[in-house]
Symmetry: none
DNA sequence: GGAGCGCTGTATCGTATGTTACGTATTTTG
DNA sequence: CAAAATACGTAACATACGATACAGCGCTCC
């Protein structure tokens, strides 16, 4: 089974004429980036003419150059998105091999945070801690527990935190209470739920600031969101993993708590007195 | 010092208008491949028009789109040629190293799994997948969302999965339905809740098999539990982290799903038909 | 409430890019 | 060694891509 273009080339290289073989070699040498550049650049790097490059990709079975490039890009995307192939990983102490699923989860978290700036986290935390308005949280079928988890914590350090639960009609009616001073935290990963999208749109129209937790393919809600957190979800399982989003949520909780330290601890003490 | 485009974007994202921010987000979400495609494809993915994409790259300081693409390619080339620098020197967009909290969370997971044998996980999964009895899930104040999350998934691949919600009196009465063929999954970390402990004890007396998710100090429920999963919870935050337990839960969900593959997929198909 | 500014999308334009035709060079074969 | 076939590059072509001008719209700030 031939999976990558590199293999395909290696297999047919011998059956190629001299010029095309040079093209093949230069492509392998700096794989796959040369193939993503223009035909002119490729041909210059290989020291052959443009038509030779085109004949080369034609011989590989592609209809035209763009098709060849698309395939290369897809291949690259697969490589980048599953860093499982990465050789360097912190060696698991104790000698026991870490299960693939844990491996993937840890990678997901690292990847997620790699694309998440401190600045962005700080901004979101500030928005949540800024006590000017109310905070609403809601999630989809599988992610609603994350919304609950976050709500459970935030509700302790500050007032006016509401988790939107129950039937759609229930929380849709809560829109009436939302304004531009308020924040709506939404969790939505594939398959994106229409009800949530509609809700987000209406909230957006009312000027509500939306913080979206989604996957790397971005829920359509991203269109309405002030802040978007894109977590990696791919794991060797029948389900997507929300673990990375969970960790981001915990970090936000921690940051918000720290910012509200003074009032927060006062609240907590008052709460304990109430028991 | 700004080395990657991702950093550059993270820094200027806030100063961007809505449309360009959407472009930035989609680029970050599938970094960097979208940026290597044509302007038309990029704009379609971001849900904006082509000129917005061009204004976006212009704002990043590039003279034109090809220049932007070249920079992305160079960056990618550097990454591909030395995969070592990728993990050792993770170019986090914020410019800083991995945040301490993420560091601690990752450590927690590794530690948690180090003390968790495959055998134990397999046993628990078998217990959950063994379809002889019902499955109940419940959690404490902060961990109940984890119970919900697990219940949401398990309920799809097998029947008779119940999350115990609402007031204490509610689920206490459900004890009547529980017997020795049933499994009760409990999440309980500090500060351990009396109500949960009482509930676990009564369930144990009825012969219910208890699977306990707790922290490293072990909830008192451990005494009644058939299986105990002790997750690390310490992080530099005012709160404990449930992330490790979350990951264990996800892994169990995955394993159970795999074991029930045949019946599970039949169930899923039947469910989709019902829509 | 009105005027000004800034952002965004539509439509058009110029051009760089991939593609093809054709002539020359090079190798292969009888 | 000659003749044919294949390979390669030059040059002309068409398409699709990036770039730009302009108008509509919403937003902010007097």
């Amino acid at each position: 089974m031939i999976s990558s273009i590199a293999e395909l080339i290696a297999e047919r290289m011998d059956a190629m004429p001299a010029g095309e073989r040079r093209a093949a070699q230069t492509l392998i040498a700096n794989y796959p980036l040369i193939g993503l550049k223009t035909v002119a650049e490729f041909s210059a790097a290989a020291g052959v003419s443009s038509p030779t490059i085109l004949r080369f990709v034609a011989r590989l079975g592609f209809q035209n150059y763009p098709e060849f490039q698309s395939t290369l890009q897809d291949e690259l995307a697969a490589q980048l998105q599953s860093p499982a192939t990465r050789t360097l990983n912190p060696p698991s102490p104790g000698g026991g091999a870490t299960p693939p699923m844990l491996e993937a989860t840890l990678d997901n978290m690292r990847e997620t945070f790699r694309h998440l700036s401190d600045r962005q986290l700080a901004d979101i935390a500030a928005q949540l801690a800024g006590r000017r308005g109310k905070t609403f949280l809601i999630g989809g079928r599988f992610t609603d527990p994350l919304a609950r988890y976050m709500a459970a914590h935030l509700a302790i350090v500050q007032p006016e935190v509401f988790h939107l639960a129950g039937q759609e009609s229930m929380w849709r009616d809560r829109l009436i209470d939302m304004g531009k001073r308020d924040v709506l935290v939404i969790f939505d990963i594939r398959r994106y739920q229409d009800s949530l999208i509609r809700f987000a749109e209406k909230a957006h129209q009312r000027g509500v600031q939306i913080v979206l937790f989604t996957d790397q393919w971005l829920s359509p809600i991203a269109r309405f969101a002030r802040h978007v957190i894109a977590g990696r979800t791919a794991v060797p399982s029948a389900w997507d993993s929300s673990a990375a989003l969970f960790v981001v949520a915990e970090m936000l909780i921690a940051t918000v708590t720290r910012q509200l330290e003074v009032e927060g601890s006062r609240r907590i003490r008052a709460m304990e007195d109430l028991r």
